[in-house]
């Protein structure tokens, strides 16, 4: 009982966040990527998917994967307020994960974007889905964003023309904060964000299997 009370006091208050409605996107390969919101029960699978990347130095996968890993744990164990996780799957196989959180009803905070499968702009599409969630479903006015890799900087800061706001602190640390405003979202959304709804039930059912990737292009010769 004492443990329960302690645990309760350790948990942040929760806001009732509207769910992210799943969608699917036809990638350049012709494969369909389903983007749906992961639940706390899904986290163990996601941790397994992320774990191999924690030691990949190339393209800063290590720092991004390690931080995402911790954030997934924090989400699962109720240690971050109003966090969410979106996952991209192709034929049920996890190909990418993004997360963030709601700071308040007006401001969102983007955490991380990890693309496991590469060369199909999966990271770009998952990031766009994350911004779509903040702006179009949570109804926020702006999203605070930082990047830890040059790829992220090019894809978000430059391509979305994010507003530089170094005076605003981002929870991920000292990297200068950039901001996606509602106006910037409306400007870039048509060329950055796509996908169809509803996802056919059988496709969504497969997506929810969250099959672990059997190969990682970042890790030649990977065997699970």
């Amino acid at each position: 009982m004492i443990v329960d009370k302690l645990e309760q006091s350790l948990r942040p208050p929760e806001t009732n966040m509207p769910p992210y409605p799943p969608k699917y996107i036809t990638l350049a390969s012709g494969e369909k990527m389903v983007v749906h919101q992961a639940s706390r029960e899904d986290v163990p699978r996601l941790l397994e998917a992320v774990r191999p990347l924690v030691t990949v130095e190339k393209d800063f996968y290590d720092i991004v994967a390690a931080r995402l890993y911790a954030e997934l744990l924090a989400y699962q164990r109720y240690r971050v307020k109003d966090e969410y996780v979106l996952v991209g799957t192709i034929d049920g196989v996890i190909v990418g994960i993004v997360n963030g959180r709601m700071v308040d009803d007006k401001v969102g905070m983007s955490y991380h974007t990890v693309a496991i499968k590469r060369g199909l702009r999966i990271g770009a599409q998952l990031f766009a889905a994350k911004m779509e969630y903040h702006m179009d479903y949570l109804g926020q006015q702006e999203v605070l964003i930082v990047a830890e890799s040059p790829i992220g900087y090019r894809r978000w800061m430059i391509e979305y023309e994010l507003e530089s706001r170094p005076s605003t602190w981002h929870e991920l640390g000292g990297v200068p904060t950039h901001v996606l405003t509602k106006a910037l979202w409306e400007k870039h959304k048509p060329m950055k964000c796509t996908g169809r709804r509803p996802v056919p039930p059988e496709m969504l059912e497969v997506a929810k299997k969250l099959i672990l990737p059997s190969e990682y292009p970042q890790i030649p010769g990977f065997k699970r």
């Binding site: 036809t26 990638l27 390969s29 012709g30 702009r121 430059i158 060329m191 796509t194 996908g195």
Partner: protein, 397 residues
């Protein structure tokens, strides 16, 4: 008397992102080519001359005199050495100079290496760097880039000849399919024609870069190196493999300022370079069995195929629709994957095209082999067509 010149060895790094510095990358391609030619570096190596093609070593990598550095790295002293810069046609220019060095009798064996380390900068910076070859006052100063020129050229070509975005996507899909059989190609992924051009997600998945050109119409930014060992054909017996003969080389230039061209859809330098190469080789376009054409943009494969006489003017895209330019078709083009899928490390490209033709003519091209290929054509395109080198290789019977 002019000596006949052949290619005794070829080498090629995997295009994409290099894990090693520029000169080391050049050395990797060179060592493979030397090994292929049965040449060991060090004392008594027998290499008289080294040419290195690179457009960006100075601007991107802050390194000059790359050929001298490569000779030292490979222990090829006291070989003569020069670095060659002719924009994206640097590679073919270096091969041409290697040919001249041997044909003149000045050398017996020349090593030609092309390479570029481009992914040290962002895509935008790479695009700006490539644009430095445009006219500084009439073009570059106004923010013009190569994709911008290619976009305008494509629009004109579409209006004049009925080329469509679907035709361009067919070129892209074909070249990506070819690249799947080329282990050194940068991109090992076949896009779905429907997904990149017809699907409702296509505008986002395959967005316009320079309308009407989309992402899948444009070559990637790549690192990579390629190398060939040239030899006098009268010394062919020294080498383990029968050299493939350089049958013809043609080069031509056009106005630096593209707007000064009489007909903006004509690529005169391509036409002249090809005609000169055919004349030197004593061949006609219909003799060509396989071609590597400079498809930095998909439209260029179509336009160059016409200027090089492989198809009538304005009909190249119809040949693409009929599948004539894929492996198994009448005249397979860009069996390597082309610049589009194999990648385009500028200084390497002209040499890489020659490497592919040698592999085709030797019958070493694996799943992309053109059966019975005897004559191959390469067109390496510099500037926006203002300095073009065409090379014809022939298999010696």
């Amino acid at each position: 008397m002019v000596r006949k010149v052949g290619i005794a060895g070829v080498g090629h790094t995997k295009f994409g992102r290099s894990e090693v510095p520029l000169v080391d990358m050049l050395a990797l391609a060179a060592l493979e080519a030397l090994d292929d030619a049965g040449i060991r570096t060090g004392k008594g190596h027998g290499v008289d001359q080294v040419f290195v093609a690179s457009m960006g070593a100075g601007l991107l990598n802050r390194q000059s005199s790359v050929a001298s550095a490569l000779v030292d790295t490979l222990n090829l002293q006291p070989a003569m050495a020069e670095t060659v810069e002719n924009g994206p046609a640097s590679g073919a220019s270096a091969v041409k100079l290697g040919y001249m060095a041997i044909a003149s009798g000045m050398c017996d064996v020349a090593l030609v290496v092309g390479g570029e380390l481009m992914r040290v900068v962002t895509g935008w910076e790479a695009t700006d760097f490539v644009a430095t070859m445009l006219h500084p006052d009439a073009e570059y100063a106004y923010g013009l880039t190569l994709p911008a020129f290619a976009g305008m050229f494509t629009r004109l070509y579409m209006d004049k000849y009925g080329v469509t975005e679907k035709d361009l996507a067919m070129v892209a899909v074909k070249n990506h399919e070819h690249a799947m059989h080329n282990p050194v190609a940068h991109i090992q992924l076949v896009p779905s024609f429907h997904a990149i051009i017809e699907d409702e997600d296509a505008p986002v998945i395959n967005p316009y870069v320079a309308e009407p050109l989309r992402v899948y119409d444009v070559c990637p930014v790549s690192d990579g190196a390629a190398a060939v060992v040239l030899c006098a054909m009268d010394l062919a017996d020294r080498f383990p493999k029968k050299p493939v003969r350089i049958a013809g080389i043609g080069q031509a230039t056009d106005t630096h300022v593209v707007a000064e061209r009489e007909v903006p859809t004509d690529l005169l330098a391509v036409r002249l370079a090809a005609q000169r190469a055919y004349a030197m080789a004593g061949l006609k376009p219909e003799d060509i069995d396989v071609a590597e054409l400079h498809d930095a943009f998909t439209i260029l494969e179509i336009a160059i195929s016409e200027e090089a006489g492989l198809f009538p003017r304005g009909k190249g895209h119809l040949a693409v629709r009929r599948g004539e330019t894929r492996v198994g078709g009448r005249i397979p083009i860009n069996t390597s994957g082309g610049l589009k899928a194999k990648g385009h490390p500028l200084g390497a490209t002209g040499v890489s095209q020659i490497v592919e033709l040698v592999r085709q003519l030797r019958g070493e091209a694996g799943g992309r082999q053109v059966e019975g290929a005897r004559h191959g054509l390469a067109v390496n395109f510099g500037g926006f067509g203002n300095n073009v080198v065409a090379t014809i290789l022939s298999k010696e019977e």
